[in-house]
Point group: D3
Chain length 250, copies 6
């Protein structure tokens, strides 16, 4: 089975290679995982505009990989930007977002979950994501680490400390009993086990969870519902012959 992990934005080749190695270490023996970086996009995704900017690049990778015969794609951003669009366009390839996936897993394992975000001021994007996933009843807290994404990797200690304190309060005061990491940089720093041990609750790594879920769903023969994510009407009716024609340049 072939799974592509799409980086929906720019990434240094070194970091991309490092993440691909980690993904491969997580994969099943019979899974081939490839990490593909979008040709264009934002440097990191920390606001709604950057979420949207990342979509055309991610779509392009997804469509190419579907043609190449990949079985599943993981949209590598905690906000799942454009997940619905990619699911509309693909016809044979399962597409998962780490955001919705990790929310569901956190919801499976406890009664109330919290989400770790880079910026606490974007709490509503997590509320919306939980609504789209269908688990908003269980989302109890959004915890902001408030460290810029591009400075995260050098701040492991500070992240752990901040999260342990903030999540500890959410556990005591808001019944939080599971945590989903909402940022891929934190995911690939693999802080989940360390946080889980410190806090005594499950902490879901969204990148790993999405990969393992993709394998599990493919093994179940399942794909996202094309009834829920129907093919764009212009493609269905022949007004456009490819997703590329949906966009008109000046």
């Amino acid at each position: 089975m072939k799974i592509v992990y799409i980086v929906p934005g720019k990434m240094e080749a070194d970091e991309a290679a490092r993440r691909e190695r980690i993904l491969r270490s997580w994969a099943d023996a019979q899974t081939y995982v490839e990490l593909a970086v979008a040709a264009n996009g934002p440097r990191s995704i920390e606001c709604m505009y950057e979420e949207y900017l990342s979509i055309p690049g991610a779509v392009e990778v997804a469509m190419r990989k579907e043609e190449e015969g990949f079985d599943a794609a993981i949209l590598g951003c905690g906000g799942d930007p454009g997940l619905d669009a990619i699911r509309e366009l693909t016809t044979r390839m399962l597409v998962l977002g780490p955001g919705e996936t990790s929310f569901h897993i956190a919801a499976m394992l406890g009664h109330r979950f919290g989400v770790l975000k880079t910026n606490g001021d974007r709490f509503f994007s997590s509320v919306e994501l939980a609504f789209r996933a269908g688990v908003s009843e269980k989302l109890a807290e959004v915890i902001g680490v408030d460290i810029p994404v591009l400075e995260m990797q050098k701040s492991r200690g500070k992240i752990i400390e901040t999260v342990v304190q903030a999540a500890g309060r959410a556990i005591r005061e808001k019944h939080v009993d599971a945590l989903a990491i909402g940022c891929m940089t934190m995911a690939f720093m693999e802080v989940d086990r360390e946080l889980g041990n410190a806090l005594g609750i499950p902490v879901v790594n969204p990148a790993k969870a999405a990969l393992k879920l993709a394998e599990a769903l493919l093994n179940c023969g399942l794909m996202h519902s094309k009834r829920a994510f129907p093919q764009p009407v212009k493609l269905r009716t022949g007004l456009a012959s490819s997703y590329r024609e949906l966009y008109v340049h000046e």
Copy 2:
């Protein structure tokens, strides 16, 4: 007061001029309305991917118009694509989406509203929009006209007939007592009054409603909340000096 109506996609100059004339006929005497078509984007917006494709073009217009001193912008699509992103980026200019605006007005005037969409199979995008607006408790039905956007203008009779039948059923069976038009092409065909008379319930024209609400809110000195839609972190911290730097080309 200066208000720009942004067409987030391609539009023939004739049709753009026609819509601008209609907008001006709706505006207050002291309001200057301008219709601005995005430089790039989709031909029409009938799927999630087209929604996302429209955002960068709309942002560009919005940012330019804010610089030119416009007081408000209306994002001219029934799905409000990227409304949150534009609200994050603007700092002085009120931004309204016709979708959320018309949902609120329908909710103000009745107990349960329905939404008219071009495609009935995209019901969930209306559910999401209602959730973002905060009025999902009152959304009772999504009615699909199921006529391609680009063929609508020649199908006035068929639209009226289809809607009167489908909305009539929603009125009888689902307590629908108000209707929001969810498509700008129908809005500029000004079918609202005709439908309202035939159905005996308020039918909200989203283009007109957004324009009149923009005027009303400006007169109240109100803008969208910058606490709810905070400036992107890279702009706030100086990592980027303009929204344009948020996107990185190959």
Copy 3:
């Protein structure tokens, strides 16, 4: 266009004239606004019983003004007492409540709003109002100023101070990012701009918002839904020939 602002209770002639002047300063050039004080009612509305006591007086004004050809009525109390009854009885005149209207506007501009009330112990009446409006998902906090209505005008400084402190806490702890003023006395003290500047979030003046929305909706040709607010059955079937006959004196 002619709009009546109904004071549903007793008011000194001086204060009534002052409020009418303010309303006229807010109105469009082509709008004629009149303030009409009910013949009987409570001195101020600070409990549910006073809300109900205000209704017959307000209905009487509304019915007279509809007969006189007014286009819209604003029910001048933050709790919208009897809004549904007046909407049932009127057949041509749009009726708006400043409570529901300001809740919708606050919900349009942010993700979570708070309401300013004179008494904090009446939080549930705001919850009910938000439910009727259909925006209860976005109501996050009810803030009590806890100053009797009849002493408010001499307490401007104390009001500002109390609200800034309490709303500041709601902003930090409950994601509040917009505020609706729930009391008409505060509305006509025009504290909204001052509070907005101090708090950095939109603060909706319900009196002004209702007036500007009435103008906007009339310009859109919209009235409240008579399907949602049907004519009383005794009037419809001829058992009574006027709303006055619905009440039977000893």
Copy 4:
């Protein structure tokens, strides 16, 4: 224990005596029940305006009966008009509404309940009542009998037939498994047992249920929460010395 059943509107002496006899046949041996008709009010309650018109008369009876030492009052209308106001004003006497009470009992006995109303077009008033009661999750259908209240008593057969048909459909299609009668005229026609046998589900008589609940709660030493329904601020602070002073005549 002394319980007053308040008729919040006009009623013929014969019918009042008949209802009092029925109430007494329902009461415990040690309960004294009295039916008291308000001095002024509507002839029947079939719209929101009539609901509000009934409140001052009902309050007056309630306050007098509290002074006379009654232990509980039942507000004799299926819509519970002014229940909150009467609960605010009383300080020692339990006040129950047959509407909320019967909704709770229907919710106790099944998973989804329906409400029988005289007019089907007033569905939202039941939705609001269920919200106030806190059981809106279980309200699945509002069934309109669509017979004017004043003609009901001569239409027993037609009522049974209409309800059996409409409720049968709600049972099959909307999982309705319990019914609350939402109209006191139907309650005193004692159609509940007949309907229950025909439909095979519990049918709650709101008048009887409210009486038996009042006895039960008094025996438990319980009264409505004065924290939830606080004394009006003008009475609390001495600005008014009686509820009568809250209303100001011209």
Copy 5:
């Protein structure tokens, strides 16, 4: 009328006799109350497993008492374990759970209620119970006394003190205005009146409330809905001739 109070677990004969005496002191003159202890079960119910362990013993008592002609059964545990199962199996006898009953009564008397539990860490079982009852909108807080059930009776002072403090905070911070006791040991210590006086809000004794509600509902001729709690399919179709055959021993 004959009502059985089922102790779904082991209980010393002395304590059982004491509780039966209290129940009889609460009952109406014409009610015969019997307390019946299950033959097998847990010593007390403080976790989900103990809830489930109690069910077969409780079912056995219920079925025997139904055969003996009892009119109602009260399932004597605050968590209502197996209430749905007993309601499925019984065909003529009303079955009430003190948990759901007291939640409904608390919801009838105020806007937001809290629940007293022995262990605060089991908050979700109260959330679930409120959902089953249909009143989860009004559940605002779960307060843990955190004293083992078997040590409660000697800790009256500590319970009162703990609850007054914790409930006082819930009243101030979470709008709690009524309290339901969620533990039968506390119920039979009759701490409700003392707590109610100290806190100034209604405190519902679930044992007493369930008994008085059972009397009230029987007087109304009401039973739980057999449509909601249908007879097990094996009994309905004759695959089993008694509930005892549903269980197969090795």
Copy 6:
């Protein structure tokens, strides 16, 4: 990794062996799966009482398998009876229910899901399960096959036909776009692929989904939250030294 699939009730050795073979065919190469039948329990689970009867037997198997070093247990019934109890008692072994797991997967793949049940009259048990899982917003329909569990295996054709018809209607009328099978007998008949092809939407096999999810979560190092499912207080405080002591025989 070692996973046990617990049959919480009686099962013929042949059928048990057949199901174990199917489970092994689904498992990863490095997974050891064992099917263990409870010593006592119901013959099949078709009512709430049978759900509860199955719990002690399932707990016994789970506790023994945890001691034997198994990594995960799947509670083999679509209703997940006692999932919370088993999660409370286990301390190192992940426990999953096919019901909640398949609901989450259906919710991940579409916007609105339906559940296939043996008896349509038990719709509320699916509603409760969806609530516990946290996905009740997405549950749109419960479809009853209405064939007794013990006769299912000989009724493949009838099942397919019934479901295709009923689910087809749910797809058209209630926006259902994914299906979860709610019965393990249907799961081991592997009707999911056939139904999926006929209906054009994902159909989740709960047995397979639970197995693949167990593997995925174990690979992620995740277990259910012990904060959400805390150890029973008697075990925690030493009042009991084993779960067996929680039950007291006569």
